[in-house]
């Protein structure tokens, strides 16, 4: 939650003032229903409509798409402005951008591998949240070992495909218009995979809700039974799917769904610090406890380091030893930090940690135990922490594959 820097360039400072004013004027009132904590838990239609309207409004105000050229509906590439919007959204504790999978994964991948036609057709409604994206990679038998997946796309004889198989943990599939789909078009483990942009509103596809351990919905399993896909669904070349998918998974951008790296982590730590100043344990303020305060300080330092690393990452001379280290470790670092921060928050609550959302006296509406349990969605989803450590060990430290 960065305050304006007095040394900020005048035009950027002006943009910040305008953005802040716009957000203050337009951010929607708190709804009567419980909002999801992240894009992983968008469950009900009313939650979805509320969040989609917010992203749409931001887009129409010119505040979404700072990593997308103007010809595809974006704002032109401007990381500085992206950072300003991110900081101001975080500062205002505004709702998140609901089409995050589109903004973060599908969009950049389409921009990298798509045809001109695919880019013009798909990117603008993605930015506006007019068309929602979900991701179909994992399967019941293929989690960490993603390339063992068995969902297959077979030619329909007319240039298109028919899809048969079973995908799981497909966040927002129940409201999605499109899916980035990794499917088998041949027997070779890696070279037999192709990457598709699958239109969800079609026959032969069934979306069934899965329930998370918090009792919330928002992710699904998707069963394909010969579901048709037109010719133009293929992204990149046939058999190139693994490489395209790795690109998707590597899109750990400085600007993630409109939030700047570091800012959100630090904001979380400060929310926990704020809780520590309010919460009482054994009748005393939690923050008085030196052991708890010491743990908070560790989180604080780690969050500040994420912000500094984001700056450092953009200076080649300061990452020359291991250029891939910071980008590849980001997901692991921030998801585990969030897990420890929310765990500490539960500790701060002392006796009151036993209350769950829905109890009128649950501190902060029960957000902390809920956020802690939901934190595992991030240490598991998008490549488990264990897989991330393999990748870092192999690609950054040059250690041999764990075969």
């Amino acid at each position: 939650m960065t305050n304006p820097d007095p040394r900020e360039l005048p035009e950027l400072a002006e943009f910040r003032r305008d953005t802040r004013a716009w957000i203050a004027e337009h951010r929607p009132a708190a709804p009567s229903f419980v909002l999801p904590q992240s894009f992983l838990e968008v469950e009900t239609r009313e939650q979805f409509d509320y969040l989609r309207a917010w992203q749409g409004a931001l887009y129409r105000a010119g505040l979404v798409g700072f990593d997308v050229p103007r010809e595809y509906g974006g704002q032109g590439v401007s990381p500085e402005r992206a950072a300003v919007v991110s900081q101001e959204l975080t500062r205002a504790r505004a709702p998140f951008l609901v089409n995050l999978l589109g903004l973060r994964w599908a969009g950049p991948t389409i921009l990298a591998y798509g045809t001109e036609e695919q880019k013009r057709r798909l990117i603008p409604p993605l930015l506006a949240a007019d068309e929602i994206w979900c991701q179909g990679f994992s399967e019941p038998g293929s989690g960490s070992d993603l390339a063992s997946l068995t969902t297959r796309a077979e030619p329909d004889g007319a240039g298109g495909w028919r899809v048969t198989g079973h995908k799981v943990w497909t966040t927002m599939a129940h409201v999605a218009d499109w899916m980035i789909l990794l499917a088998r078009t041949g027997p070779a483990k890696y070279d037999g995979l192709s990457y598709f942009l699958f239109p969800m509103k079609t026959d032969g596809v069934r979306v069934e809700p899965l329930v998370k351990m918090t009792g919330e919905g928002g992710f699904n399993q998707v069963i394909f039974d010969g579901a048709p896909m037109p010719r133009e669904s293929l992204l990149g070349q046939e058999g190139q799917g693994w490489r395209v998918a790795m690109t998707t998974l590597a899109f750990e951008r400085g600007v993630e769904g409109g939030r700047e790296r570091g800012a959100e982590d630090l904001a979380l730590v400060w929310r926990v610090a704020d809780l520590a100043a309010r919460a009482r344990r054994d009748g005393a303020p939690a923050i008085d406890d030196p052991v708890l305060a010491d743990q908070l300080v560790s989180l604080w330092i780690e969050a500040e380091a994420i912000g500094v690393s984001a700056l450092r990452m953009r200076v080649p001379g300061l990452v020359a030893d291991r250029p891939l280290a910071l980008p590849l470790m980001h997901k692991l670092v921030f998801t585990e930090l969030a897990q420890r921060a929310t765990r500490l928050a539960c500790q701060l609550l002392g006796t009151e940690a036993v209350l769950w959302m829905g109890d009128a006296r649950a501190p902060d509406d029960g957000d902390w135990p809920r956020a802690f349990l939901n934190s595992y969605g991030f240490t598991i989803g998008g490549g488990t922490s264990e897989v991330q450590r393999n990748i870092l060990g192999e690609r950054v430290l040059g250690l041999p594959k764990s075969k």
Binding site: D145, L210, R280, G283, G377
Partner: protein, 393 residues
Amino acid sequence: MSATTGSMSLASHLPDGLGHTGDHDLLRGTARRFLSERCPAREVRRLAGDPIGFDRALWRELAELGWTGLHLPERVGGAGLDHLSMALVLEESGRALYPGPLLASALGALAIARAASGGQAGRLLPDLAAGRVIATLALVEGSSWELDAVEAAARPVEDGYELHGEKAHVPWAQVADLLVAPFRWEGGLSMFAVPLAGPGIEIEPEVSLDSTRRLARVRFTGAHVAADARLLAGGAVLGDLLAPALAYLAAEMAGAAGAALDLTCAYARERVQFDRPIGAFQAVKHPLVDVLIAVERARSLALAAAVALDHAPDQALRAARMAKVAAEGALLFACDRAVQLHGGFGFTWDCDAHLYYKRALASAATWGDALHHRRVLAADLRRLAGYAPRSGS
């Protein structure tokens, strides 16, 4: 030299065989079998989704097995067994995540057995021992479970007392018949055994994180209780109760931790990724070994705390604090790895891991968490190390 002073080990206070006999083996075996038959995971899940969450028929069966009176004297209908017996049964009930007031009622009954007059004990304990009456223990007010936070008051009136105040997070108050709790009384504190019925008592179920241990707020707005609701001993009782409360809770938590570990190991043996069971990967295997170490430590200390209650009462409170610290660490760690190593499935409602995790988080917050008890133990340690702190520090 000061180092020798504090260093008499806990183990050296305990009998060589830990007081364990063949009867304990039988008891544990029965408990394991009974719970796996009558309280398997699907039954726990069914009750977790139930508005009340408690199966009275199951309760009657375990009362018939004698578990409700294991630790009560034979003259009131109990089995007259030791605390180790109760700890072993509670370890098994923790393994099964048994959803019911076994722990709460056992402690309520223990408070009465220790603090009541002969007449009170004779009147209350036979029904408790037989499981016909369910007790619960209410220690929390506001956000504190310590004695000096007690504000609920018992005002003397004709024929008894009038109760005012509110107790929070009372386990299973929804189904209990008798609440044991401290009330202020003429300036001091006293334990009262309060029938949970009648006017002036309001039971408001809480939405509890752990739906296998239901909680409620109990409000007293002038409820009238008879004069003999006040148990004889004063605040000291609560201090005396802390050791068995923590020892019993630790046993239950250690059991749950062992079960969470077993759950994950079973999955790690079966789930195949990269052409082999994931348990073959050291990123899975080694953390599970660390969980194992924590679980066995927790089990050892939970046993030690129970055995200390039986054989070395002056060591019991410290042992019980250590047991709570170890059990909390082991259970949270076991659950953390359970969810994470189950991968995408671990994050779903269908995987049992979250049932254990919610029990873990709620149990951690009960009767002082590890941080609290480590702080108390640190004070012990300073004293035992021969260190006299500066005043005020």
